[in-house]
Structures are given as C-alpha cells and as structure tokens.
C-alpha cells in the first residue's frame, strides 16, 4: 500500500488490482502435482534399477516378458493419447457430441491397455512369478502396477467427466477439468515410455 500525504489526506491503493478468474491457477497447480507424481515414479524406477537384477534364482525378464504383448500395449496407450488430443481439439470448437465420442474412444483404449496388462500379470503369477518371488519381481510389480493404477484412476476420472459433460455441457469448469485430465493422461504416456524402455526392452537385453 502506498500513502500520499499531499492533498486532503492519505489515499490508499490496493496492490492487487486485477481480479483472477476462478480456476486461473488450476493448470499450474495440477502441473505441480504431476511433477510430484513424477518424483514417485523416479523413486520406483530407482528401486527397480537397483533391485532389477536380483532374481533369487527365480525367473528373469527373458523368461517372463512377451515383447509382442508389450508392443501392443504401448500402441494402445499411444492411440489413447492421440484420441484424447482429438477430444481436446473438438472441445475447443465446442462440439459436445464429438468430444464425448473421442473421450469414449480414449477410455476404450485405456481399458484395452489395462486388460492386456492384467492378462500379463495374471499370466506371470500363474507361472509362479509372484511379487513375493524375488526382489526383481517385487520392484517390477510395484513400478508397473503403480502405473497401471494411475491409468485405472485416469479411466475412472474420464468416465466421471463424460457424465459431467453429458449433464452440464462444455462449461468453463468442465473444460478446465478436461484439460487437467489431458495433462494427466499424456503424463502417464510419458511414464510408460520409461517403463517399456527401462523395464521391458532393457530387461530383454540383460
């Protein structure tokens, strides 16, 4: 505050003059959340990097991983990223039905990814490669499972937002929520790049 003594008396000016619209700082806040999430994944990657070679005379990556399956999985996540991008573009144009359609396609790709991952986990556990078997498998299931859990919650969030858009249309608040989920979804794809490179591809090279 500044006070001027000249004239009739002190005049006070509030320093914060322009009002911020509701949700104006949401995107930055959500980005900060994603960065903290990134640190969680960094810890899990570090744990896998340290423990990933300790098989305890159990199965090694070469005995367990099926690269064809991982490639299909990667494709599913990549397709879901581009379809979410299309959903954002149609959202910008204000086309509710098209946005909903693209969101639905994204959700289906997300579900396909989760199904393939669950199939892979079930197959590994069936072969006796459970998280308890070795340090390698513990860290593997923690890292890949945490990513899968994120995708699961992302899909739940996606369905929630589809209901919101169906009820209230593409209002300002819904646009903001969809943009947050967009960042979340693309961020998960970025983490998956690390997973398929560091865990699956490097695992096959061991």
């Amino acid at each position: 505050m500044t006070a001027t003594t000249a004239g009739t008396g002190p005049v006070f000016h509030l320093e914060e003059e322009h009002a911020h619209a509701e949700g104006g700082s949401t995107m930055l806040g959500f980005w900060l959340y994603l960065m903290s999430d990134c640190l969680i994944f960094a810890m899990l990657f570090a744990a896998y990097g340290v423990l990933g070679g300790n098989y305890a005379a159990g199965p090694a990556p070469k005995d367990l991983f099926d690269l064809d399956l991982v490639a299909v999985n990667t494709a599913m996540l990549l397709f879901s990223s581009i379809t979410y991008g299309f959903a954002m573009l149609t959202m910008d144009k204000g086309r509710v039905a098209a946005t909903q359609a693209w969101l639905a396609v994204t959700g289906l790709f997300g579900l396909a990814f989760l199904s393939i991952e669950l199939y892979e986990f079930a197959h590994m556990i069936h072969e006796g490669a459970t998280p308890q078997r070795s340090a390698f498998l513990s860290s593997f299931f923690t890292l890949v499972g945490t990513h899968g859990l994120h995708v699961t919650f992302g899909t739940v969030w996606l369905v929630t937002l589809m209901v919101q858009v169906a009820r209230f249309g593409l209002i300002e608040a819904n646009r903001r929520r969809l943009m947050c989920l967009s960042m979340f979804w693309h961020f998960l794809d970025v983490v998956w790049i690390g997973v398929f490179t560091f865990v699956y591809l490097m695992g096959m090279l061991r």
Binding site: G24, M35, A46, G49, V50, G85, H186, I193, L201
Partner: protein, 123 residues
C-alpha cells in the same frame, strides 16, 4: 498460439492447446521412436547389448521430449515460465535420485561381495 492465449484470457491460465497438425506430428514421431527400439531389441540388429541399451535409452529421451512438446504443450512461456521451472527442478531431482541410487548401490554390490568372499577364506 499467443493470440489464442489472449482470447482465452485468464480463465484457463493461458495454457496452450495443440493443433491437429501438432498432435499428428507428435503421434507420427512417437510411433517411429517407439517402433525403432522395439525392432532393435526384437531382432538384435546391433550385436553389442550395451550399445543397444544406450541407443534405446536415447530414443526414449527423444520420445519423452516429443511428448512434452506436442502432447503436453510445454514451452518456456506457459504459466509465465513457472511450469518450465517446476519441470527443470523435478528433472534435477530425478537425475540425482536415479544416478545416485544406481551409482551407490552398484558400488555397494561390487565392493561388498569380494569382502564376504575373503572372510570365508580366512583361517
């Protein structure tokens, strides 16, 4: 993109959206950058495993940058530069955590094992 930001005003925090062209470019680049590492490992095109590992890591780094630019629309001006600052800070922490953990634990593994072995051979 800056004109678009002005149109949106403060309402959406000035976060940039992509264009159809941008998303498509990112997607095509991602497909290429994913396919090559998978092909390298599946066919064993490079004989040396360590060289393959370095090459696929490089592809991953490039693909992460592609995703950041084309899908997450990272640039130095969004949110007044604060998102880029947060990203750089996070990356520094990630590098410290990853290299620190791997480096320390590798040396623990490498140095402790012979020690145990020597102890067993002591009279």
């Amino acid at each position: 993109m800056s004109a678009h930001d002005h149109a949106e005003g403060h309402g959406l925090g000035g976060a940039a959206h992509g264009s159809f062209r941008g998303y498509l470019t990112g997607f095509v680049l991602s497909v290429i950058l994913t396919a090559i590492p998978f092909w390298l490992v599946m066919t064993g095109a490079i004989d040396d495993k360590q060289a393959t590992a370095i090459v696929i890591m490089a592809f991953a780094v490039v693909q992460i940058v592609v995703h950041m630019v084309f899908f997450l629309h990272m640039n130095t001006t969004s949110e007044g530069g604060w998102s880029m600052l947060a990203l750089i800070f996070t990356l520094i922490l990630v590098v410290i955590v990853l290299t620190g953990s791997l480096w320390v634990m590798y040396h623990l593994n490498a140095n402790m094992m012979p020690g145990l072995h020597d102890m067993r051979e002591m009279p």
